[in-house]
Symmetry: D3
Subunit: 238 residues, 6 copies
């Protein structure tokens, strides 16, 4: 029995509110249950130095938790003067995940930055960030297409992410904070619509798992992502 009363393969409610803020080219408040992340996509007509003059674009991400997104207040990274290893690891993952579905040549020599700011945390902030970032990116890319700045759509596939884990011996989908902090194994899957894998990060905590365990988690993840893809589609079709 999961602490939340959910079935093993049951996701939390997914909410996606587009246009949450008005200045960004794409803006989304995504919720996986009580986890709420504000994602904005910002287009800038410049690329990082290593890409200058190559006719290609770049998609990158930054991630942050508001200090009181969590049960106890965490210190603000801007005040400490550096981003933690965890923050950097997550923002690198978000960037890679979105680049896995973006044709950077079709994007042209411009950069889109996805800012993922966690307003409230209850497990799964990185997977909500990736899933919401796709929607924000889609909205921003649409503006480029609508304005004629780009001719061909660089973003033809969806990407989504979900966490799975082994909780008290049972593989479960979409861990919340209580499950996450006591799970035997914790895995984040980044999947691409159509069945391919963009990234797997699976870590044993305490207990380890075997090949069979990994596959069961992957199958749960496929179910979860199917649900997210539907929510993403609905959000961008409005």
């Amino acid at each position: 029995m999961r602490p939340s009363g959910r079935a093993a393969d049951e996701m939390r409610a997914i909410s996606i509110e587009t246009g949450f803020t008005k200045h960004a080219e794409g803006s989304v408040l995504i919720g996986f249950g009580d986890t709420k992340v504000l994602v904005t996509a910002s287009i800038e007509e410049r690329v990082p130095p290593f890409l200058r003059g190559k006719g290609e674009g770049w998609v990158t991400a930054e991630y942050s938790m508001l200090p009181r997104a969590t049960h106890t207040r965490g210190s603000r990274e801007a005040a400490k003067g550096k981003q933690s290893g965890r923050t950097q690891e997550i923002q690198r993952l978000i960037g890679r995940s979105l680049r896995a579905v973006t044709d950077l040549k079709k994007l042209g020599e411009r950069q889109i930055t996805l800012d993922c700011d966690v307003i409230q945390a209850d497990g799964g902030t990185r997977t909500a960030s990736i899933s919401g970032a796709w929607v924000a990116l889609r909205l921003a890319v649409q503006k480029l297409l609508d304005s004629g700045a780009i001719k061909e759509d660089p973003l033809t596939r969806k990407v989504a992410a979900i966490s799975c884990g082994i909780h008290q011996g049972t593989p479960v989908l979409d861990l919340d904070y209580i499950e996450d902090s006591s799970a035997d194994a914790d895995a984040n899957f980044v999947l691409i619509e159509g069945g391919h894998i963009a990234e797997v990060q699976a870590t044993a905590e305490g207990a380890t798992y075997d090949e069979e365990g990994l596959l069961r988690l992957l199958r749960l993840a496929r179910m979860g992502c199917t649900e997210i893809f539907a929510a993403q589609e609905k959000a961008v079709s409005r």
Copy 2:
């Protein structure tokens, strides 16, 4: 004529949504028109080193803008590794303003941190932060009173803040971004319910102003704060 069509002494709509996030002891999303600030109050049972063992508490604030709160994306202070002078100046002002109405002895040896994160900016972010921070602080203090952690209310007066400025020769109330960026003079007033002044910061930009100008701005600010005090009262009475 103001760009927004408002009268010279007309505030933007004030919105205060309490309980916007669930973990913090006090949580508020305050809006002054399109300016939206999330303020959380976090209680910690410790005080800064200079107050240890003195039986007194502390109230402090941190302020940040999300990178895409503004028209163009600003760089993230956590990524740059330091807070700007502007950020530090604003968070010092917020802290001082709240301490001006808090009896730190009655608060007991604990600290309340007010995190003001600007979700969307359209001028007046520091004044919305101060006004919202009072509500978040009030909610947190109420929890301490309700739980019996403190006996006497340390927060018996309200504090609010509003900007005024001279725009095309006319003193106007509650500047939005367009007015702010072209104002001849810009002043922020922090006022205490009942008529006293906690802080005045008035800066001439280009043109300067005289004693009469300062007084006209102060009178506008009194009108604005009266409106904010009413909104604060309504928010905490729910």
Copy 3:
């Protein structure tokens, strides 16, 4: 009765020694009683990136206290690796104050930096810095005029600053350290010769003040600045 025995509207002795160091284009040791600040003006033939190619100049300031300028040794900001919020707030104020009287177009595409280093502190270091910085800037501008580098004088008005406060219920002029640390309210006024206000920063500490209190402080400040303008005039006329 003030701790120093001064009358409520009595300034401390003002001393201005020009040419205190030899390399800078302008160099001044200014004293407000026991507060001593060394201000140098340095001309550089370049402007910050946001002004490049616009044909306009820039005036900026940096401020620092020597570690033992004060009663107890403070740690050196260079050793700590960052400037405090107080330092940044003060140097931003100094820069704004000087720009309020400088015609940046007439200055041409060059930058003048005012370095204000507090040798000894006894209250009022920011106001002594601003008042001394005007003299250093005037000397540097004169060199530009004398050499023919600029044709028209970009600095036709004086600016000066003074602190006032409410000490034991009485408004007093030019607070020294003892008064400053126990004042009920503390205000810094930056005034322009001829009667206009460039900046007001008035903060209640403990007690607050009302409109009448603010006006009484402003009138004291006018008296003080008249005296500073005379001392500045004498210093640059030598």
Copy 4:
């Protein structure tokens, strides 16, 4: 055909030289082909703050590349003043991997730090680091057992790591730099002797992969780790 001429399931030569430096409690120079990493294990009789007084130990890791370990000189992180996201991600992975096989209660209230310094890089530096770190840790733990500082062995299982990837459509084992920089997918597996998985990090670059692809990589990794476990055994048995 692989650039190195190796078979798809062929590892590079593994070399493990123990006692490479004399001060550390455990010291190893591990080579996976031309990749050479110096790993030292340092025992300290203190634990991080979050573990104080709990009777448990801690195992952690730090990772660094010497500036000219690579084809072109990289800048020194100590000179830049911060560790890159990549460095932090790798050192967190190494620490987690070693903790997965260490009984922290049996270790007692002390910390063992594994310093992994890459002397020469040719792909697979993180997997060589983990595999070598186990040997260094084993040697340090043996000293604690021999001296009687601990009674029960906290390290009864081996851990090793290897990279696999899809190179020109073929799953291959133990990527060198040339393969790594052109692989379609890149995965690092951390495996525990006996068949369990401690961690999987699999990333698609350009192309993505499916469940079948992931399993084929995992099977190659098992083969590779079997070889590493044998080399580790030989190294600690001398």
Copy 5:
């Protein structure tokens, strides 16, 4: 012929003004010609962690140049966020030099910090700093003796420093900036009254020198320090 017209073994005028600032336990403005350094000695009743509880004191130094001490403005180390290698090298040298003549046991468990702030630079700032620091330290130690805080004098010998160099083939004493920037070899000697050497730092620039050259520089340095010891004696005898 030296640019200044001085004889090869002729020092610049030495000036030592004690009591230049009022808060420090010792305060000196020392001049070697146009080089002017403000040195303050601050007593603190605490020692660095490595000395706690050992009944010994510590003497340390910090060094800084004001930004416009030099011909062109240098950037402020506090603004850059770190001290240069040169600054650190010099402040370590000053600290070592003063500790060479201080009996740290007799000082008792307290620290004296010598802050050396260069007001104006014309070569020899580190040697002026050391020579002035002795005077400031002497004044501070005298306060401890006078107040009875310590019983026995921990500072019974003088220390002074001077630069020498080979300029256009000729060994010369007390290099000014013009000589320093074109010298073939540059040496700083820290000497103890009575004839012993505390430190020699001799560097060839361009040309190198031999044993005979080194001895000739050392003999010049003895002459220079004899003069400085006399000036120090006069300063502390007033």
Copy 6:
């Protein structure tokens, strides 16, 4: 009697292994007894800003200790976010020493960086670094000559360094860690083949020394460097 049983004028065994790593243009593992330093020389076709367009090259150095090069683990400078004063002092010394024998005009507009990473420390790490750096630089310069990138040899003289000290009243050569930590005086000499001095850094610790003492140390240093020059010659002749 020296702790190691060596005669007063006896060096430790010198070992120089060239080609220790494969990517660098020059690579050397140098040992002075148990002190082992890996030095690499990296050629880059760019120069620092102050040399751009002048047709001259630059030689510079970076120095670091691996955390467990020493008896107890030191913290990693990259993790602390800054290089210590000691590190900066040493790397400045290494750079100056190598530049003393390099004709920068003949080198052409390129930079050679000498990275000195201490693998194991037992006293004399800076002198081993300088002595090894010459070999690495020689190998890199030879590649430039062999490829025709430069025509004339910019490095016609050798440079080497050695420490000497006064240990229990006796001047001794090449101090190891035990001697170094208890020496009365400690001196580092950087000498040029043929008899000239590039740099002397002699510091009294506790006791001081006189002219005679300095000369005796210099004579020991000459003997030591003669031995190092021979080992360098042998290393580059292979």
